[in-house]
């Protein structure tokens, strides 16, 4: 099944549930009408929160840059000993 169909099925299911709520008036009408707005807002908040948390916990590795420089120096030494010229002009 194409993925867009899965998402659309989810949207349809949620809409059906919402229309059900409107019809049966378990919750008051004015409140039920606002539910989709809340849904969109909470989706947006979820997205922002995930980006924010991801940004705060962004894994960085400054020590790796140092190790890489050491590896590069070591590699250059080896290449020189084998007579491979890698100097860029």
């Amino acid at each position: 099944m194409k993925h867009i169909l899965k998402i659309m099925a989810l949207v349809v299911a949620i809409s059906a549930f919402w229309i059900g709520l409107l019809r049966t008036s378990i919750v008051s009408d004015s409140y039920a009408w606002l539910l989709p707005v809340y849904l969109v807002l909470s989706l947006g908040c979820y997205g922002l929160l995930m980006v924010g948390v991801g940004l705060m916990l962004f894994p960085t590795c400054p020590q790796e840059a140092v190790l890489l420089q050491q590896d590069i120096a070591e590699g250059k030494e080896f290449l020189k000993s084998k007579g491979i010229d890698v100097a860029s002009d």
Partner: protein
């Protein structure tokens, strides 16, 4: 019966897996030499070959590769050049045609993918029997160096968007440091049409949809020239287009 089983087990142990490492290059004279040195340093008891797919670099990358062949042997380093720049996706299928390994490893030549992680890819595959092992920067033990705040922000935003819309089952969609079972790569690569790093995303999403077993290992990613991998407006548009394309076709 028991003897037969024993024999089979011995055969299994005796027949070592063969790995083909495909590295596309363009003007990577110094980097390819360092990369080859580091691969041989970190993969001591593994049978492997390196396939360099060079797109007609004018800086003499191919001459350096030929010198490396003299040091390490022409059976270990294969140069399979193409006349001009023809793109990443076709570079992989070109390399694949000349690969003789049971497993194919794909990595970048610019040392952002460090060969010291290769043993963990291989170990993970052997432990889990996975069809694909993909390197991820976004878990404990992984990481990125050399990105400014803007680059991190776009990366996180893109990731959250893709995770929410595509449910891909892997944490790092655009990383391209991966190990594939040969038949799986052959199967997936033919159904992918995107270019650039959307191609990497399409490969892993399609593989995930086809139900292949995918495992992750942490890798680090060092940008050596600070801020060199800027994401411009056009890249963001390309990414969004890729996302919609994958939504509609997978």
């Amino acid at each position: 019966m028991e003897e037969e089983e024993e024999q089979q087990q011995q055969q299994k142990k005796g027949k070592k897996k063969y790995y083909s490492i495909i590295v596309p290059t363009y003007n990577e004279r110094l980097n390819i030499a360092l990369l080859v040195y580091l691969i041989f340093k970190h993969l001591r008891d593994v049978d492997f070959e390196i396939i360099v797919v060079d797109d007609g670099s004018p800086d003499g990358t191919q001459e350096v590769v030929k010198q490396l062949q003299e040091v390490y042997g022409e059976d270990r380093i294969l140069l399979r050049a193409r006349p001009r720049k023809m793109g990443l996706g076709t570079a992989y299928s070109h390399g694949l045609k000349h690969a003789s390994g049971d497993f194919i490893i794909i990595m970048d030549a610019d040392l952002s993918h460090h060969p010291k992680y290769l043993p963990s890819f291989i170990r993970k595959q052997q432990e889990t029997g996975a069809s694909i092992v993909t390197g991820t920067r976004y878990v404990r033990g992984g990481g990125v160096h050399g990105w400014n705040l803007m680059r991190k922000l776009t990366s996180r935003g893109a990731n959250v968007l893709a995770q929410t819309l595509l449910w891909p089952g892997v944490s790092d969609l655009t990383g391209s440091f991966r190990l594939y079972q040969r038949s799986v790569l052959e199967d997936v690569i033919n159904s992918c049409v995107s270019k650039g790093y959307v191609f990497q995303m399409e490969m892993i999403v399609r593989a995930s949809r086809k139900g292949y077993h995918i495992e992750e290992v942490p890798v680090t990613f060092v940008d050596r020239v600070f801020g060199s991998s800027k994401l411009g407006g056009s890249e963001i548009v390309e990414y969004l287009k890729g996302l919609v394309y994958l939504l509609l076709t997978t």
